[in-house]
């Protein structure tokens, strides 16, 4: 096929949906997926089809439809291709793990559908082996089709906590406890808003019923205050809503404090291709919205290419509906995490380099409005291998809370917008042909 090439990054529902919509319009589309399979975190497929995790029927249907269409479409799929960023010349850099090399592409347009960033608010001990994100544990369970070994405590806030707990129960293992920080009540107006997207209510009801049957309903208003290693396990200190402290010995702790959009990698320089973000990467609205958002992103690309896109009224409506439902859902949860004032100085903030809250506080005590860039450089927050994905947002809001509000730091000032957006092996880099024309 000749003509403009469009590159779609991310093989979750948003990316696949965007790629299919573009292919339907006759565009030459290549879909890049970092892992060995498509599906993203939400539609992670089991390694062994006979062992699978319980997922809502609507999710299954959605993915089945996408993967069936993809199989007969003209979309080219590149597996194990990591998006590394866009360089000054506008070249899109892809690390090809299949062939241990770096390749460049010069697409006309780029759709970034890399999914959300899972947020975990710092708590002492969250860097220990055995402490994982709720999403991380769920992804592992979905691919292995087995409940994790050992005793599991789930804590934080958000609908994902009960989803994980119920999926564990369905695999024959209830978590030791589910601690939901929020005490916010379900109101009539929230229910009314959720009725716009009733799938959420059904999904939640199903999960809660499962948990009720196994006695693992979430303890609302409870949260983790510290995790320490003990006898090869993890001793977790928790506080309940009445201020009662408790120690629990477990093997794993799964933490989650919401999801954030992912703005990494959108360096729109003067030579860069036309860039659109889609799905949770752009706005965290979940899987159903990702489908619609992928189509809208494709529509934006088609418009950029001068093609008249089919009317996306349906997709826009679906997105609006999901946005309303998510907003209602979010009022039920409390993503604030532990109050920084309650956190000891030793609390790790940067998980890559072990930088602590004490070191961050020390940078801010001088009575001088230190800039985000200075915090980054001198505190090394956001300079580790994860490029600030797990600390920058928290550091920015912490700094803002310590100031009078005159100049709240932007997360982007800590993360920066440079490539590579993920570390790239030098052994792959050196394979790049000198002054390479695009592939």
């Amino acid at each position: 096929m000749s003509g403009p090439e469009v590159l779609v990054i991310g093989g979750g529902p948003a990316g696949v949906s965007a790629a299919l919509e573009l292919a339907r319009a006759g565009i030459d589309v290549t879909l890049c997926e970092q892992g060995p399979q498509l599906g993203g975190a939400i539609h992670r497929q089991p390694n062994d089809a006979t062992q699978s995790v319980r997922v809502p029927r609507s999710h299954k249907r959605r993915w089945r439809a996408l993967s069936d269409e993809l199989a007969t479409s003209t979309v080219k799929v590149l597996y194990r291709h990591m998006f590394a960023g866009i360089d000054a010349t506008g070249a899109v850099l892809l690390e090809d793990r299949m062939h241990a090399r770096l390749v460049t592409r010069r697409p006309t347009a780029l759709v970034l559908a890399m999914g959300a960033i899972e947020r975990v608010a710092p708590v002492p001990g969250w860097q220990l082996p055995g402490v994982v994100t709720v999403g991380g544990l769920q992804v592992m369970m979905k691919s292995t089709g087995r409940a994790p070994d050992g005793d599991v405590l789930i804590a934080g806030s958000g609908p994902l906590l009960v989803a994980l707990a119920a999926q564990m129960v369905s695999l024959g293992k209830a978590p030791v406890a589910v601690l939901e920080r929020s005490t916010r009540p379900m109101s009539v107006s929230v229910i009314a808003s959720l009725l716009a997207a009733p799938a959420y209510l059904w999904e939640a009801a199903g999960y809660l019923l499962t948990l009720a049957r196994s006695g693992a309903l979430p303890r609302r208003g409870a949260f983790v205050t510290a995790i320490v290693p003990k006898d090869g396990r993890l001793s977790v200190t928790t506080l309940d809503r009445n201020g009662r402290e408790r120690q629990t010995l477990v093997d794993r702790v799964a933490l989650h404090d919401g999801l954030l959009p992912n703005s990494n990698g959108t360096t729109a320089g003067q030579h860069a291709p036309f860039i659109v973000r889609a799905g949770d990467c752009r706005e965290v609205l979940g899987g159903a919205a990702a489908l619609a958002d992928g189509r809208l992103a494709a529509g934006a690309v088609l418009a950029h290419l001068g093609q008249i896109a089919s009317v996306h009224k349906g997709a826009a409506d679906a997105l609006a509906r999901e946005r309303q439902a998510q907003a209602a859902l979010n009022t039920l949860f409390d993503y604030s995490g532990r109050d920084p004032a309650e956190l000891p100085d030793e609390t790790i903030i940067c998980r890559c380099e072990g930088r602590t809250l004490g070191q961050l506080r020390a940078l801010l005590t001088a009575g001088d409005p230190v800039s985000p860039r200075e915090i980054k450089l001198n505190g090394r927050f956001g300079m580790g291998a994860c490029q600030g994905r797990f600390c920058a947002e928290w550091v920015a809001s912490f700094v803002a809370s310590q100031r009078d509000g005159s100049s709240p730091p932007q997360v982007s000032e800590i993360v920066g917008s440079r490539w590579p957006v993920k570390p790239v092996p030098i052994s792959a880099f050196v394979t790049l042909p000198p002054s390479s024309p695009s592939e």
């Binding site: 800039s371 450089l377 570390p423």
Partner: protein, 382 residues
């Protein structure tokens, strides 16, 4: 005293001026160390210098760093160590021997490494090297960390995101600094504005941006080869320095330095490009540098590129910095155009500026840097 520019030169000058009794305010259009200081390689080094005033000043600047540590102004911001200039073939060896001779003649302590001694010191890091000159008594300082230390020592005020748009003058003297927030009165001005200096000067094209790209790797494994100090390929000598700015319209040259950082990471540089003035990096330059780096030190292939960045050096028309009084206003001084030597020379230049401004005779001969050689005057708008 108004110091314009919160880079290493301005902050060093502010430090010494405040200690000399001045009430100092540092203005910066951005934040602290947001220009070349924040994106420099941090070499406090004479290894790449050609004989002449810059080499003499660099030798003194290294001693000045040692003095700053001895007096407690810097604590662990300066890391003394040797630089290893490496030859990989006969052609490079000829360049190496000539260069080592020049450094030695200037009084720089040099140890030539060949054969068993070479293998012993850098054999693990650079197995293909055929000879190396160990340039002793040099060091490394991270520009933004030096500046942060000076900020913490305090004694002066920093005004971030406060662009100086010009000056108010009366009877041939500057009496005020114009900013968006209004005019603030001042008795004297030091321009330490790097690439931004042209805004204040009447002479067009005197200072041009010379871009450099640098690579940072992740941390080496505990079992990886030991690097005793930075390895500098002889080819760097061809690339570095003495290219007057703007001599070629779109030139770029690469020179390889592999610098083991204290964190266990490596800083790999760098380029000198007169192509554009944007702080961006391109994969072609990075891949070329990495290919050269892996050819010299194969163990680097096990690491990952974690960060790539670029900075803009302030290169002058004749390749020499500009330090001195600005004509047309007898209370305005300038210290700019350090190109790739700002981290090395910055603290000492700050000290020399303070001496000049206080009417003392500077403890180093900086007549070769005198602003008068260009007949500098303030821009009309300034």
């Amino acid at each position: 005293m108004a110091v314009v520019g919160a880079g290493i030169v301005g902050m060093s000058a502010a430090h010494f001026l405040s200690r000399a009794g001045w009430q100092v305010t540092v203005y910066d259009a951005g934040v602290v160390a947001s220009g070349a200081t924040g994106s420099a390689d941090g070499a406090v080094s004479v290894a790449s210098k050609k004989p002449g005033p810059l080499m003499t000043l660099a030798v003194a600047a290294v001693k000045f760093y040692e003095q700053l540590v001895a007096t407690g102004i810097l604590v662990d911001e300066y890391l003394p160590r040797s630089t290893f200039v490496v030859a990989s073939d006969q052609e490079e060896l000829a360049v190496l021997e000539r260069h080592a001779g020049e450094l030695e003649a200037a009084g720089v302590p040099i140890r030539m490494l060949r054969g068993a001694a070479l293998m012993d010191v850098i054999g693990a890091a650079a197995p293909a090297a055929i000879a190396a000159a160990e340039v002793q008594r040099e060091g490394h300082a991270v520009g933004y960390r030096v500046v942060e230390r000076l900020r913490q020592l305090g004694g002066f005020t920093i005004r971030r995101n406060c662009r100086v748009s010009g000056f108010k003058s009366s009877n041939g003297r500057i009496t005020g600094v114009m900013t968006e927030q209004g005019i603030e009165s001042t008795d004297a001005v030091l321009l330490a504005t790097g690439i931004g200096s042209m805004h204040f000067l009447a002479e067009a094209g005197l200072i041009r941006p010379r871009k450099g790209q640098l690579i940072v790797t992740d941390r080496a494994g505990a079992d990886s080869p030991h690097f005793p100090g930075p390895l500098m390929s002889c080819r760097y000598l061809v690339s570095k320095g003495s290219q007057p700015a703007g001599s070629t319209a779109a030139s770029r040259s690469l020179g390889l330095v592999i610098d083991p950082l204290r964190t266990g990471q490596f800083l790999i540089g760098g380029s000198r490009e007169d192509r554009d003035d944007r702080e961006t990096a391109d994969a072609d330059v990075v891949a070329t540098l990495l290919r050269d780096a892996v050819a010299l030190s194969p163990s680097l292939a096990q690491l990952r590129v974690i960060r790539v960045f670029s900075g803009l050096r302030a290169a002058t028309r004749d390749g020499m910095p500009i330090v001195g009084n600005v004509g047309g206003a007898d209370n305005v001084w300038i210290a700019t155009g350090f190109e790739g030597d700002g981290i090395c020379l910055g603290p000492m230049i700050g000290r020399l500026c303070q001496q000049m401004i206080c009417g003392e005779s500077p403890e180093q001969d900086i007549s070769a840097l005198d602003a008068a050689r260009f007949g500098l005057t303030l821009a009309a708008a300034a």
